[in-house]
């Protein structure tokens, strides 16, 4: 199963590198979103905690602009039936999930680097805490957006509905991650951020389990 989902991932990677649709869209979206924030801030001095919140605004909307590609592209090219024939639903979901996790990590790393270069107030005092929350937050973001992308691909309206459906599902993760980013900016110790980290990790585990259980129903539709 794992080798099959790996080859599925390679197939996605190859077709992505050939067209570079998602990568280009994400890269441009990051630039657009960050420059909108920079223009609206202007010469104003913004507080460090505000930059932590805005950081997640950029991440959320960038994710919403590109991550639905994983399943929507299969529907558009009409290759869904072929995939259903050659692979089990679990394999398909694993392959798409690996692809989206890589995409989210690449995207968020770029956002984090650009963000810390462009905003002087965005200073991480507890880097280890930020890194841990960043990793688990990204995994959760990838899982939820992959399963919602599967729903969206089967539904009629593809573009507009995606952020609408994803936001309530991602809300607990975003709330906890914003809180963790604020902790990292304030330099709060690992020990006192344990609860929020536990929330993010259990969110990942629960969403992963629920997604694998429910994906069968979506995929066979």
């Amino acid at each position: 199963m794992s080798s099959k989902s790996y080859s599925l991932f390679l197939k996605d990677l190859k077709s992505e590198l050939r067209t570079r649709y998602a990568i280009n869209a994400l890269a441009m979206f990051i630039i657009v979103a960050i420059s909108v924030i920079m223009f609206s801030v202007g010469q104003e001095k913004i507080s460090p905690s505000l930059t932590g919140g805005l950081f997640w605004v950029v991440i959320f909307f960038t994710a919403m602009s590109g991550l639905s590609r994983a399943f929507v592209s299969e529907e558009e090219r009409g290759t869904t039936l072929a995939l259903q024939l050659v692979a089990s639903p679990t394999t398909v979901f694993s392959g798409k999930l690996i692809f989206n996790i890589i995409l989210v990590f690449a995207m968020n790393t770029v956002i984090a680097i650009l963000y810390s270069v462009l905003f002087e107030e965005f200073i991480i005092r507890n880097f280890l805490l930020f890194l841990t929350s960043f990793v688990f937050g990204n995994i959760g973001l990838a899982i939820s957006s992959t399963i919602i992308a599967a729903i969206i691909a089967k539904a009629g309206a593809k573009g507009t509905l995606y952020p609408v459906l994803s936001f309530p599902i991602l809300l607990p993760l975003i709330l906890a991650s914003v809180q963790l980013t604020l902790f990292a900016i304030d330099g709060i110790s690992f020990e006192s951020a344990k609860f929020e980290l536990a929330i993010v990790i259990s969110y990942d585990v629960i969403m992963l389990t629920a997604s694998y259980m429910l994906f069968d129903f979506i995929w066979k539709e």
Binding site: I151, A155, G156, V164, L175
Partner: protein, 234 residues
């Protein structure tokens, strides 16, 4: 038929009693409510605000339950029941939000405070708003039923997070919150016997009303489907 008259009398009594019974400092007569410090006359909205919030939870729970049932049995009737219940849940959710925010204006000073429960009901509004949007975007009945059932299951597993994460991020204003000084269930603080009686009568009356409305809603969707088929296919 008898129970409908009974329900009418019950709800009429609750509405009249809840609004018109006087609030006095030392209740002596059977129809007098006690004065609760900090709430005063505002306390009366409890007979309408709490039942609507309660029904929001019941209706959405029923909707999720029938979605789950649909995924197991693939019976389209279950999907219609789930849809009818979610419609009612949305109505009660909006009512609870409005009555709550009116109460918040007079008790806490502003219409919206991002208290944990306010945030939770906002998340519920978002989830079911998205759910209805998803349903309206799909033509085929089976596909619509499956996809919306899956979405409501995914939304359902996020509910525990709202319960645990909210109180950590926001300060609670509702009674029974983590940092509430007079902690404990809402009901047994400072309500006297007749107030409690009317409160529970109101809860029971509204719950029966919900189950009745649910049945009527479900039947009307069935009839509408039948009519559509009759006129379109001849």
């Amino acid at each position: 038929m008898v129970w409908k008259i009974f329900l009418f009398l019950l709800l009429a009594f609750v509405s009249v009693a809840g609004i018109s019974f006087p609030i006095v400092e030392n209740p002596t007569k059977w129809y007098e409510f006690p004065l609760i410090p900090g709430l005063e006359e505002n306390a009366k909205i409890i007979f309408f605000h709490v039942p609507t919030a309660w029904l929001t939870v019941i209706a959405f729970l029923m909707s999720t339950l029938y979605s789950f049932k649909y995924l197991r049995k693939k019976n389209l009737d279950d999907d219609l029941k789930s849809y009818a219940s979610a419609q009612l849940g949305m109505i009660f959710c909006i009512l609870a939000t409005i009555t709550g925010s009116v109460w918040a204006k007079f008790a806490w000073g502003s219409f919206w405070n991002w208290d944990p429960r306010e945030t939770s009901i906002f998340a519920l509004l978002l989830i079911y708003g998205a759910w209805f949007a998803l349903r309206s975007s799909i033509e085929s009945e089976e596909k619509r039923a499956t996809l919306s059932a899956v979405y409501s299951m995914i939304a359902f597993v996020t509910v525990p997070f709202f319960i645990f994460i909210m109180p950590r991020i926001m300060t609670g204003l509702h009674p029974g919150s983590a940092d509430d000084t007079n902690a404990g269930p809402v009901v047994n603080f400072k309500m006297n016997g007749n107030m409690l009686l009317i409160f529970f009568l109101s809860l029971i009356g509204f719950t029966i009303l919900y189950f009745w409305m649910w049945r009527v809603g479900y039947k009307s969707i069935l009839l509408k489907d039948k009519l559509d088929k009759k006129f379109i296919r001849g």
